[in-house]
């Protein structure tokens, strides 16, 4: 009997002890985006290593696919349960500032960490205040089959010329990859538009965004060219409106595409999957007579005002931004490093990273306006209408511009 009482008492004490230690731990939640190339193990290992280093903190990394990240974050916020930290596309920051939910992250960062970030990448600095700590930043690239073409095309006109030669739909080989199904952002359109000296809005002298300009000469010219690739020259994969960006990537990796534009993460995937064909990267092409310009995408980490564990969240940032963890992260996601301490690391001295870095000066980012998600969808829908032959490029871009200006009250 005594023995039984002893065993029960020990179990009760253990349970009580565990409960007390669990209660004493402070919980930090991080909404984490699943980058292409980033394995699930990375987040698990990071969580485990951090908790070992800081046993008083219970870290909860909530992994989310990128294309669901925005909606999931908004659902958390609208439900009054924002995470403590979240990885976001920097273009969402104005929306979050509009909702008054983000904290100036600069108040919670150690000096060492702030000084180790390249200032040129601080797109999350609004009105002189840093709200978003850069987590990834990189320009986009042209991937091409170097076993099929002698050199990378510099212009889209050259690319079309090469595409007509290598396109072989009977063998399920398509010269140019084009996506038509919504997937986070309309990246494909941006690659062509920026290469034609176009942009989505006119920039006003005070730095704000004016009327929508997708229906100017550059915008209509871009849409006409894209539509011609799909419907006139038929050098893209058929049924472009069924393909998301990630499905195009799969198609390139499977060896079914000649040219495909994407981020550095595709290079990581090509290496991870050990493709047998020869491929290479080059700067994003531009139209003849127009300057080269790539899309630059930055992602940031934000801290939420409602967080009760800002200090603990700050400790996590220090941990995550240490060289060992950042190096592995940067390698996997295929972006150049955002920390100065890794800039000279031998791993990043290869053509993929060099091209990404070389393109930075002429590159353009997404518009920073709170209504961008809706504007993005409106442009997408009109691009699709053009691909389906429901509208001419001019009609489609005029309709898009008009609807966007109406929404923004212009």
């Amino acid at each position: 009997m005594k023995r039984k009482i002893l065993v029960v008492s020990i179990i009760l004490m253990l349970v009580l002890g565990l409960s007390i230690s669990a209660l004493a731990q402070k919980k930090v939640s991080v909404l984490w985006m699943e980058y292409d190339g980033l394995t699930p193990d990375y987040a698990l290992n990071l969580e485990k290593a951090f908790e070992e280093a800081y046993p008083e903190i219970d870290l909860n990394i909530i992994s989310t696919p990128w294309d669901e990240g925005h909606d999931r974050l908004i659902t958390f916020i609208a439900g009054g349960q924002p995470p403590d930290l979240a990885v976001i596309g920097t273009r969402w920051l104005l929306e979050l500032l509009d909702m008054d939910v983000v904290e100036p992250i600069e108040n919670w960062l150690s000096e060492d960490l702030i000084n180790n970030i390249d200032p040129a990448l601080m797109e999350g600095k609004i009105g002189g205040v840093l709200y978003g700590l850069p987590v990834a930043a990189g320009t986009r690239l042209l991937y091409y089959r170097s076993d099929l073409v002698d050199k990378a095309p510099e212009t889209y006109e050259e690319m079309l010329e090469m595409a007509l030669k290598i396109n072989n739909p009977d063998q399920k080989f398509y010269a140019v990859g084009m996506s038509g199904q919504k997937y986070v952002e309309l990246t494909e359109h941006a690659y062509y538009l920026f290469g034609n000296s176009g942009y989505y809005f006119e920039m006003l002298p005070d730095g704000t965004y004016g009327k929508c300009t997708v229906n100017d000469e550059a915008g209509i010219g871009t849409m006409t060219f894209m539509n011609d690739l799909v419907n006139k020259h038929k050098v893209t994969q058929p049924g472009v409106t069924a393909y998301r960006r990630d499905e195009l990537q799969d198609l390139f990796i499977a060896g079914n595409l000649g040219f495909f534009m994407s981020g550095g993460f595709t290079a990581t995937l090509l290496q991870q999957r050990g493709v047998t064909f020869k491929w290479d990267v080059a700067p994003i092409p531009h139209f003849e007579g127009k300057p080269q310009s790539s899309l630059i995408v930055t992602d940031s980490i934000v801290l939420f005002k409602d967080s009760k564990v800002k200090e603990e969240a700050s400790k996590f940032l220090d941990f995550f931004y240490s060289d060992a963890w950042r190096l592995e992260f940067d390698k996997m996601i295929g972006f150049p490093p955002v920390t100065k301490s890794l800039a000279d690391d031998p791993y990043f001295q290869n053509p993929v990273y060099q091209v990404m870095i070389e393109q930075i000066p002429g590159s353009k980012g997404w518009p920073l306006i709170p209504e961008w998600p809706e504007c993005n969808d409106i442009i997408w829908d009109n691009i699709v209408a053009t691909f389906l032959g429901q509208k001419t490029p001019e009609q489609a871009m005029n309709d898009a511009a008009q609807e966007i200006d109406n929404i923004r009250g212009m």
């Binding site: 925005h70 909606d71 908004i74 659902t75 916020i77 609208a78 929306e95 509009d98 909702m99 939910v101 399920k172 038509g180 199904q181 919504k182 994969q237 058929p238 049924g239 472009v240 409106t241 069924a242 499905e247 799969d250 198609l251 499977a254 079914n256 709170p370 209504e371 998600p373 809706e374 969808d377 997408w380 829908d381 699709v384 209408a385 691909f387 389906l388």
Partner: protein, 298 residues
């Protein structure tokens, strides 16, 4: 009885007490959100879904002024009508077959429930891969068997994408209908069929005069539930096409989601939710009236 007093003595009061937790649950998780959405639809709402100022019918006017919104209402009704009709007919045929005594019937009944037992998002994702033009099983099978040399790219064009989504919804919904109908069929007394046979009724006559009338109650309830679920079926469309190409497969529920959680325009989203509620409430009332009227007649 340790406790005394009138309150505990009447059975109905005690029953109300037992119902109280469920009632509180309903008020908090059902009535409050519904009432709040009603309010939102008449207010200007900020990006945190908080009411800012009364705006009357502005949210409704905004939605009604969009031609796309009317197309989506029509599409939602068509989607529901076609899917429920197909699920009912196929479900009834399967139920009739499963009601016949044959060897292996139990196994077939178990297999029938699989699409219903698996989660809808997982089923939709599997179908998305199945429809894939380059690596999908469907087109590969069609080509390999020589049924189609050049099969369509199912999710690329508005009409084929709509029917591809519709089929997945039907596929997911058939087992429920079949099992409910089967339960209804098994409740029909065998003597009625024997009496009909004595009167010289053939299979079709027995189905028309015995099975259908006695199954009508089950049919009404099952189709009503199916209408409510199908009209609000978000998963299939969102996973397969996200409403595309363009907005050609959007139905009201996916459109509401876009407005609320992608554009953060909770006012127009709430107006659409109220319209959805009114449509479904009207259908439910008509069904309920028919059901109870038939009950009185029987």
């Amino acid at each position: 009885m340790a406790r005394s007093g009138k309150f505990w003595k009447t059975e109905s009061t005690f029953a109300y007490l037992l119902l109280l937790p469920a009632l509180i649950f309903l008020i908090v998780f059902m009535f409050y959100p519904i009432v709040y959405v009603f309010f939102m639809s008449f207010f200007k709402v900020n990006k945190l879904a908080e009411l800012v100022s009364f705006s009357g019918l502005d949210n409704y006017r905004y939605m009604f002024s969009k031609p796309e919104f009317w197309q989506i209402i029509v599409r939602s009704c068509m989607w529901t009508a076609l899917a429920v009709a197909a699920k009912t007919v196929i479900g009834l045929i399967i139920a009739l077959l499963l009601n016949v005594d044959f060897r292996g019937r139990k196994i077939v009944r178990t297999l029938t429930i699989i699409p219903w037992a698996s989660s809808v998002p997982i089923s939709a994702m599997i179908w998305q891969w199945t429809y894939n033009n380059d690596f999908g099983l469907l087109n590969y099978t069609l080509q390999s068997l020589g049924i189609m040399s050049n099969p369509p790219i199912w999710l690329a064009y508005p009409r084929s994408a709509f029917f591809a989504c519709l089929w997945v919804d039907i596929w997911c919904g058939i087992p429920f209908m079949a099992l409910v109908f089967l339960a209804g069929l098994q409740a029909i007394p065998q003597e009625l069929y024997e009496a009909a046979e004595v009167d010289g009724a053939g299979s079709l006559a027995k189905f028309r005069s015995v099975t259908l009338p006695l199954l009508s109650g089950v049919l009404t309830i099952a189709t009503l539930l199916s209408i409510l679920w199908t009209f609000n079926d978000f998963n299939v469309i969102y996973i397969l096409t996200t409403g595309g190409p363009g907005t050609s497969t959007d139905i009201l529920i996916t459109y509401i989601y876009k407005y609320a959680f992608q554009y953060l325009r909770f006012g127009p989203a709430a107006a659409m939710a109220v319209i959805t509620f009114i449509i479904l409430l009207t259908v439910s009332i008509i069904y309920a009236r028919n059901y109870f009227r038939r009950g009185e007649i029987l």
